[in-house]
Amino acid sequence: MKRLFSRKQDKGDHIHYEKWGYLFLIPFFLAFFVFQFIPLFQTIYYSFFNYYSDSALFVTIGPAWNGFDNFKYIFTSSTLRPISFLGISFGNVNFPNFWYYLINTVLIWIIGFIPQILLSLQLAIWFTDIKLNLKIKSFWKTVIYLPNLIMATAFGMLFLMIFARNGPVIDTLMGWNWISEAFDVSNNQIATRLIIAFLDFLMWFGNTTILLMAGIMGIDNSIYESALLDGASSRTMFHKITMPLLKPIFIYVVITSMIGGIQLFDVAQIFTQRSGGPSESSYTLMMWLYNLISYKQNYGQAGALSLLIFVVTAILSVGVYKTIHPRVNVTKDEMIARKKRFKEYAKCPSTIHEIANRSAAKTKGVE
């Protein structure tokens, strides 16, 4: 202890402050332990117990060990649903709720994420393009980030009004004679899913753009400069320089967005007014969790469901990582060759100025 926080000067006239960092970390770890670690452990622990407050009868049952019963409940709970896929109807199928809600959740995320990543990538490239050199960049960056500053619930309410049967969208469409009769989007599965996905897209594309821009700006400009000298087109630079070097950030963006997508809750909850849309087609896993914890107050089942959501998220994250970042088998010889090349690269000049200097030096015959 004395040594750790000693302020005594050592032989080299140095004062050691580095270890004080541990002290600064204490508040975080304390907060993390109390507010994150313990609840996390409890969630897992109680998922193996029959433990609930019967809100209708004012009694608390449990906790009593019941093994995997809560997990069994989550997987066996099912509903008769009219299932159709790509226009083919399979009639009424007794479909497990967990998978149904998972499909809804992932589908809504994908519908929103594909346009989001494409637009964000395009915007990030435009904003960082040295040839394009856009004006009033920070203004546009603020504008695209603004939707994220609005609370999701407020956004949900806003869109509920905009798409109401007597709201502006339906009014305008009727004014243009595109539709003949006032139409309730909340009774249409496709429309409900699309609008929720669009809301998610609108809220998060600014954030994604900023992240991708940071990634692109982290790429050494000299690489682009040398590519320019070599006469590379924008397309080639994007494919050969930007994308490969952006990959770590890109994977980060995809995975964090996917985690956010699986936790889709507020927008869907507000926009469908808790019902989950027609035939629960926009009912997400988080909405189920919310009901289990808020109304049913069944801590065991809610714990089991959150543990399963965690597992699903982990599997999907690994899947996404492996898809974008395929592992290449490298032979031992190739590895040695690579190390050799790396050493040479380390000796290499890193900017065009250095290249110029070196070649100038060469011509002078110094080397």
Partner: protein, 473 residues
């Protein structure tokens, strides 16, 4: 410099610990400070909105003023007692969860933190009156049979448990059918409440008027859920029995059948309760809807507000404002909607004040009279309501001068709340949501019923369903 660097994390840590230990202790300031009586000087009321607070501040005789101290405010009474209203909105079951937690901790709470009174709603009233957390209004709080004699019997029945009255209400909430006079003339040739009532006296008549209305370009009802409570209040048993078995009552099936017919035949405007189109339909800019089922509070607050969105008053022109154009009649069945009860909390240190507030707000004839005349709410005092019903000079401007209290009076005496249960809120909400898929054609009856079961299972523990769920509609 060096010392302050050490101080920052230490302060943060200390702050964190302090933060963790300081919840719920903001009312203790006056504890024991010169209180001469044995009763506490802090009175805590838990509720979900400020409706009762408004009523209290307007009509409670000992109320002096509202004092704001930092983030909290309280109502100061003449004897110096501070009345705190602790409001938790009902969203996401938050109010009941808060109440459950606070009641469970009642024994260990500091004297001035204990709940003295809390409010409950019709949909879950039975849950709380069945516990020991609610005081016996007669035995514990000390209201006499004479004090309670003018209350409607149904407002006492629903909150009576083991022959003990556990809560009191200041309002009765009989429902009526509010119709537009101009459209009644179009459809029925008359806007006189007696004639209209004769035409709508039971469901058969009501449905045939709906067909006539349709032929004249008028919707009978606005949405799917409008008639719901008129059916559900007349159920033959509870939603969920004591062994946790859910039954689909014939009245609920009748509502499903009727609403499907109304939707398919175009008798309704396909709206959902509380949505924007439903609200608009009650005013001059919506579609033509003959009428709405509403109870006391709905007619004079919601409907009156919606009828005249531009605040023009009675223009006599249905295209600009419907204020003064509405009238009320009994409709095809007697029913009720809503209602709030006051409960005394076990462990209160303010029993005599509890007695005073309960008496003033729910038993006093003069205050009941005042509430009805000023807010047009229907109060739970039969003799006061009889006075107003018999008052020929009294009339509601919104209803074109009609004395609606007279009609409410008749309807209130017929209300039966025997079948109210602890699961009503979830059952009522979820059957309406699940059946909308059936009405709109998104799902058939079997899948909609299955979805209703899933929705109930997501909010209640351990329910089972009897054969009425498997039977065809």
């Amino acid at each position: 410099m060096k010392k302050s660097m050490f101080a920052i994390p230490a302060l943060l840590t200390a702050g964190l610990i302090a933060l963790a230990g300081c919840t719920g202790q903001n009312n203790t300031s006056s504890a024991g400070s010169g209180a001469t009586s044995t009763e506490g000087k802090v009175f805590n009321i838990e509720c979900w909105n400020n409706e009762f607070q408004g009523q209290f501040e307007k009509f409670y005789p000992d109320y002096v003023r509202t004092v704001t101290e930092g983030a909290t405010s309280y109502d100061l009474l003449r004897d110096g007692t501070k009345v705190y209203f602790k409001i938790t909105p009902t969203d996401g079951n938050a109010y009941q969860k808060k109440l459950d937690a606070d009641l469970s901790a009642q024994d260990s709470a500091a004297v001035d933190d204990k709940i003295d009174m809390f409010l409950i709603e019709a949909d879950y009233a039975t849950k709380y009156v069945a516990t020991d957390y609610t005081l016996d209004v007669k035995g514990d709080v000390g209201l006499s049979d004479d004090d309670l004699s003018q209350m409607y019997q149904y407002t006492k029945d629903i909150v009576t448990y083991n022959n003990k009255l556990k809560a009191v209400s200041w309002q009765a909430t009989p429902g009526l059918f509010a119709y537009r006079r101009d459209l009644a003339k179009t459809v029925l040739g008359s806007d006189d409440p007696t004639t209209v009532q004769a035409a709508l006296s039971d469901w058969t008549n009501f449905n045939s008027v709906a067909a006539t209305a349709k032929s004249k370009g008028v919707f009978m009802l606005s949405g799917y859920d409008d008639a719901y409570r008129v059916y559900s209040n007349n159920m033959s048993g509870k939603w969920v029995n004591d062994s946790k078995v859910v039954t689909l009552d014939p009245q609920i099936k009748a509502w499903i059948k009727a609403t499907k017919t109304y939707t398919d035949s175009g008798y309704n405007d396909k709206t959902t309760l509380w949505d924007t189109q439903w609200n608009a339909d009650q005013g001059p800019k919506g579609n033509k809807v003959l009428g709405f089922f509403y109870s006391t509070w709905g007619i004079n607050f919601t409907l009156a507000g919606n009828s005249d969105p531009d605040k023009l008053g009675n223009t006599g022109n249905p295209a600009t404002s419907l204020f003064g154009d509405y009238a009320v009649c009994q409709g095809p069945a007697s029913w009720y909607w809503g209602g709030t009860w006051l409960c005394g909390a076990k462990g209160t240190d303010n029993k005599s004040l509890l007695n005073k507030i309960m008496y003033a707000m729910t038993c006093s004839r003069a205050i009941a009279n005042g509430i009805t005349r000023i807010t047009q709410d229907y109060t739970n005092n039969q003799v006061a309501m009889n006075d107003i019903a018999a008052d020929t000079t009294y009339g509601s401007a919104f209803l074109g001068g009609q004395n609606h209290i007279a009609l409410f009076k008749e309807s209130a005496s017929k209300i039966n709340m025997k079948n109210a249960g602890a699961y009503d809120q979830g059952c009522n909400e979820n059957i309406q949501t699940a059946m909308q898929d059936y009405f709109t054609g998104t799902a058939d009856y079997a899948t909609a019923i299955s979805n209703f079961k899933t929705k109930l299972d997501a909010v209640y523990n351990g329910l089972t369903y009897d054969a009425t769920f498997d039977a065809a509609l």
